[in-house]
Every structure is written in C-alpha cells, then in structure tokens.
C-alpha cells in the first residue's frame, strides 16, 4: 500500500508524467561503485531503485546481467553484505528501494527473516521473477503481514484472465515486461506493444512499470502517458562498464523532461 501511495504522490508532482526505476546488481563491480551510481541516480531524480541480490542461477536474465551476477559473486559478496548495503541505502536516500532476486536466496535466508529485516530497513517491495503466486502463498502472506509489496509480472503472453488473477495478488505496482525474452536486448515499441499495455491497464488499477530493453530518451518519451514507471536495467550497467559511474547522472537526467 505504501509503495503505491508513494508512486501516486510522485506522479502528482508537477512535470512528472512518468517515474524512473533503475536496476543495480549489488556487488557489481563493487559496493563502492554501487554507492556512487546510486548517488548519481538519486541526484538526478530517480524515484525507485531495484537492488538485485546476485544469484548463481539468474535464469530470467540476459548476458549482461548474468555476467554481472557472476562477477559480483566472484568478489565474494554475501547476502548479508547485500542486506547491510540495502539498509544503508534506505537510511541515506529518500527514495523507494526494492530488492530483486531469485527465490532461493530468500528461501535459504529464511523467508520471514528476510521480510522482517527488509521491513526494518525500509525496503518497499520485492521482485522475484521465479516465484509465481501459485508457489508463493507463504511469501504473499508475509508480504501482507510486513507491508512489503510483492511485485508481480505481466508478460505479453499473459492472457486477460491471467492478468486479473495476478492483480488479485499484487501490490505496489505491476511490472510489465515489454517483450518476451530475457533482460538486455532492445525492445521495439509498436502497435502490438500499445495493444498489450492497453490490456495491462484494463486488468489492474495498480501503477504500471514497463521494463526490458529500455535505454533511451525516445523509449521514455514513448512510454509517457502509457505507463507510470519506466525501468532502466541493462543500459546503466553497460554505461558504467564503458564510461564509469560518473556517466550515469547525465544519462538519467537526459531521459526525461
């Protein structure tokens, strides 16, 4: 509930037609760099950040994020390090932070313990791409109890009926993946996408976030008026790889307005 209110309040601010959510792989290339990148993002107006706790089997991710997960783990980063970093970010910045990871990380940590700590820190939502609601009854119950939004996913392959079912479990916002496939490749926005996003809008009253392959000002302009949040993932990872953390600020600034 709190996450949805935050999003709606942000959207009411003048000249905010669309919000930005960015993605960070924790520990890639280091927490130091993560810290710097997040600072740049926050300074340039990002409203939400999903922090990915690395996993050895990132099944839903594309090559860039797969490699980032792997290299992060090779530095020896632990889940405890990621949690401590999440706590620090929530305490430092006045925006919304979510954890994104695969279910095994939470399962091994202890599902309730993970919720309790995250709530303490001020984390607002969880995105778990390999946990459909059918398998996540305990998880969804705890999400209610701890008031952390379980972010569910709409895909172009989701039927209207499925979208409604997902809506009955979801909270905060709906994460609409712009196309089939894994993270990373470019998305072509066309009439097929418009039809899909129209179906998403009809199926839920929650704000809509659109992610996968969004990397430019043109993409964000296209999404404005159609979606409520544009999600930037692989694009900033590539940017940091190629040009360093300081390139992130100007890039984010240039996406809107």
């Amino acid at each position: 509930m709190q996450l949805e209110q935050y999003i709606k309040a942000e959207l009411e601010k003048p000249e905010k037609d669309i919000l930005l959510m960015t993605h960070i792989v924790l520990g890639y290339p280091s927490l130091e760099v993560n810290r710097e990148v997040i600072q740049q993002m926050v300074d340039n107006g990002v409203e939400l950040i999903e922090m990915q706790i690395p996993f050895s089997e990132p099944m839903a991710d594309g090559p860039t994020i797969v490699q980032a997960n792997q290299e992060a783990l090779e530095t020896g980063i632990s889940v405890a390090d990621c949690m401590a970093f999440g706590k620090e970010m929530c305490a430092t910045h006045d925006i919304s932070f979510l954890f994104m990871t695969y279910y095994n990380i939470i399962y091994k940590y202890g599902v309730e313990n993970f919720f309790r700590k995250s709530k303490d820190y001020g984390i607002t939502g969880f995105i778990i791409p390999d946990l459909p609601p059918e398998e996540g009854q305990e998880f969804l119950g705890l999400a209610k109890k701890y008031e952390i939004s379980p972010i569910l996913i709409y895909a172009p392959t989701s039927t209207d009926e499925r979208m409604q079912t997902l809506d009955s479990y979801a909270d905060g916002f709906m994460y609409c993946i712009a196309r089939k496939g894994v993270t990373g490749q470019q998305t072509d926005f066309d009439t097929e996408f418009d039809h899909y996003i129209g179906r998403c809008r009809a199926a839920t009253n929650l704000p809509l976030a659109v992610g996968f392959g969004i990397s430019s000002r043109e993409d964000i302009t296209y999404l404005t008026g159609k979606a409520d949040i544009g999600v930037i993932g692989t694009a900033t990872i590539n940017l940091v790889n190629n040009e360093g953390a300081t390139a992130v600020g100007p890039f984010i600034k240039g996406l809107r307005g």
Partner: protein, 409 residues
C-alpha cells in the same frame, strides 16, 4: 499426491510468468496423451521399430562367478538407438511435440547423450533443433557434439556459470522465454518444473516394466537389489518404477563420488551431507549449495552426473527410506568399467559405470541364490577421450598427436 507436481514437499513449478501459458498448454497436452491408450501404443510401436525395445537383460555370468555373490543381471539401455536410455524420454516427448504442432525443439545436455537423442528425434520428425551444452562438457564429450551437428542440430556451448549441465539448463530456459510459441523444451531428466518430472518418469517407466518381466522369467524371482546411477535421476526412476510396490527389492541410487565425499569434489546430493533444500531451475529439491543459496561447482569424471540438483521424485523416495543412496568415486568407476569390459565384453558409459561400481562393491555380501540388476543407462563409446586419458594410453596418445599434426599441417 496432494498438489499436482509435488512429491512430498519436493517439486513444484517455479517458472517465470512469461511461460505461464506455455506450461498450461503443455500440462493439458500431456494429460490428454497420458489418458489416451493409443498414444502409449504409438510410443511402444515407435520404440520397437526405431529403437531396440524391449532392450535385453544380460546375465553377467563371469563377473557373478568372480565376485562369488549375487547373480548379476544387466539391463541393456545401451542398446537403445543412440546408445542410452535418453531415447525413451526423447521419442516420447517428440510424439507429444507432434501432437502440440510445434516445429522447434531445444534441449540441454551434459554427457551429450540427451543432445544426440534429441537431434535424432528432430531429424526424424522434421523439427529445428538447438542444443545447449556447457563448454566444459563440449570439451569432454566431443564425439557427441560432432554427431549432434551432423544430425542437423545447432550446438551452443554455454560459457556462463560453471559451464556444465545446470548452466545449459539455464540457457535453454532463456531460449524458451524468448521463443515459446513454436518451441518445446525437451527436458532431459526427471527434474525442472512440473510437468517435466512426471512426464520423463512416465516415458522412462518402460525400463522398469520390461525389467520386472525379464528378471522374473530369467531368475525366476524378483531381484534382491536394483542399482542405477543418478544424475538428474531419469534412468534410475525409470527402472525403480518397476519395483516400487515390492518393498523386498532394495533400490540403490548411485551418485558421483568424484574424488571422494570428504574432498568436496563430488556431485553427491543425497549420499553426502553437503546438500540442503533449495529452489532452483524451476523446482524444489536438495541442492549442493552454500549457506547463501549459491550453487556449488560440482565435480565428476562423468558429465552426465555432474549436476547440483536431483529429481524431486527421488528426493521424496529417499526421504521416505524407499531408495538408498550411495556414491562411487572416479577411481572405483574406472576399475568397474575396466572389469566389465575385460570380463563381460561390455563397455558401459562412465555414468552407468557408477552403478556397476556400487553393485560390485556389494555383490559379495549377497548369496548366490540372490539376483541383482544393474541398469546400464548407456554405452561408453562417447567417453573414448576421457577413458583413454584416464588409462594414459600410449598408443592412443600417439594417434592423437599424429592426427593433430596432420590437421595442423
């Protein structure tokens, strides 16, 4: 079973949302096929004409006498077309793909046997075929890579993670989430999200059904024990299903002991203390992972057993005490392979040799009145490079050096 896809608390379908409809469709098609006796008949006809079913049960007379214990029988899955039990599952899924009207198949492979079987099925049925194989496995099972390509498949070496079977599974899923309308993922073992464990177990049950009949005929009684190697668990669950209702038959799953259970260099999930419950690759089972839930880099001389997880069906049977799990080390496996070749004229795959090794360790404990069955999941031809290397065979090395020089020239 309370919830479909669950075996005790193991199994499930932890799938990304984008595949929800694909799985729904697959579940419906599979349930319809299972309920239709003509489907199974079509399967049996295919397996008896395109493959060599029923596969024989061979009495290993020389080794039985040599060890002086139980009479040893070998279920010859190596005599299937393409040389392993993998064909049982693949041809069944191929028929299902035809029913679903899909045009492309993808698969992961470790030892390459599942990949070769899938490429063969695709060639026969006219499907496009892409096989994902860890780069490490491409190196150690090179003959199978060659045949897959010659059969018309595209083989994609997987360079992420530990470059073995689990990484090939991840990569196959990444393909499937991109292209699901026309594509079926032919999962090669009794793992992954529901309905795969149930489906693969069903097609592999043909092994157990034949084995019960054959042993009753030849030995005049049920076996005391049945041995099968366990990677994901498909050949094991295949033969075990013939004996689940007769508790007097002890079922023994043999995992890869690698360099020994104390070395940390192994792939023993249920026979070591190193695994714990987890959720990965779409299902809940016992995984070799660290305290944070990151998967370990497993080790085995055999690519097909070098895997972090294990069938949820077997984990449930293990928990109920219905299957005993043991591990055979690389060196025990080489010794068993050597003895089987020299004394019986049979060349088991390195995977299958794990079952032989454990059976040979235990045969002496039993009486000559007892019978045991070893499931020979596949033939060893594919392992020629690995086995020759282990023998440190001088004439083979000389041949490779000459051949290398010829190509380099």
């Amino acid at each position: 079973m309370a919830t479909p896809g669950y075996y005790g608390k193991w199994g499930g379908a932890f799938i990304p949302e984008v595949l929800f409809e694909t799985f729904k469709e697959l579940n419906i098609a599979f349930a319809a096929a299972k309920a239709d006796p003509s489907f199974w008949q079509e399967y049996l006809d295919l397996m008896s004409t395109y493959s060599c079913r029923p596969t024989p049960l061979t009495y290993a007379e020389n080794i039985s006498k040599h060890l002086g214990g139980a009479q040893i029988y070998i279920k010859r899955e190596d005599l299937n077309h393409t040389g392993a039990h993998k064909a049982n599952n693949v041809m069944g899924q191929g028929l299902l793909v035809k029913r679903m009207g899909k045009k492309r198949v993808i698969a992961e492979t470790g030892a390459g046997q599942h990949g070769v079987a899938t490429a063969t099925m695709a060639a026969k049925f006219g499907f496009d075929c892409t096989i994902y194989m860890g780069e490490e496995d491409v190196m150690r099972q090179r003959p199978n890579v060659f045949w897959m390509e010659k059969l018309g498949a595209t083989v994609i070496p997987v360079t992420s993670g530990t470059k073995t079977l689990k990484d090939a599974i991840n990569e196959a899923f990444r393909d499937w989430v991109t292209d699901m309308e026309d594509t079926h993922y032919v999962m090669g073992t009794v793992c992954g999200p529901h309905p795969f464990p149930e489906m693969v177990a069903w097609f592999q049950s043909i092994v157990g059904t034949e084995a019960v009949e054959q042993i009753s005929k030849f030995a005049g009684k049920l076996p005391k024990r049945v041995y099968a190697c366990v990677g994901g668990g498909s050949n094991a669950i295949g033969i075990f299903q013939g004996f689940l209702d007769t508790p007097e038959v002890e079922l023994v799953g043999v995992e890869a002991g690698g360099l020994g259970l104390d070395s940390g260099q192994h792939a023993a999930r249920l026979s070591s203390k190193d695994s714990s419950p987890g959720v990965a690759q779409g299902y809940h089972t016992m995984f070799l992972q660290n305290d944070d839930g990151q998967m370990n880099d497993t080790y085995s001389v055999s690519a097909g057993l070098d895997y972090v997880g294990v069938s949820p069906i077997l984990t449930d049977l293990w928990e109920q005490g219905k299957v005993r799990f043991e591990a055979a080390t690389d060196s025990e496996v080489m010794a068993a392979l050597d003895m089987t070749m020299k004394m019986e004229g049979i060349i088991p795959a390195l995977e299958s040799s794990h079952a032989f090794a454990q059976a040979y360790k235990e045969a002496g404990e039993l009486s000559p009145d007892d019978a045991i069955i070893i499931n020979m999941s596949g033939r060893g031809d594919k392992d020629i490079f690995t086995v020759a290397h282990a023998y440190d065979d001088p004439s083979w090395k000389e041949f490779i050096i000459k051949k290398g020089a010829e190509y380099a020239a």
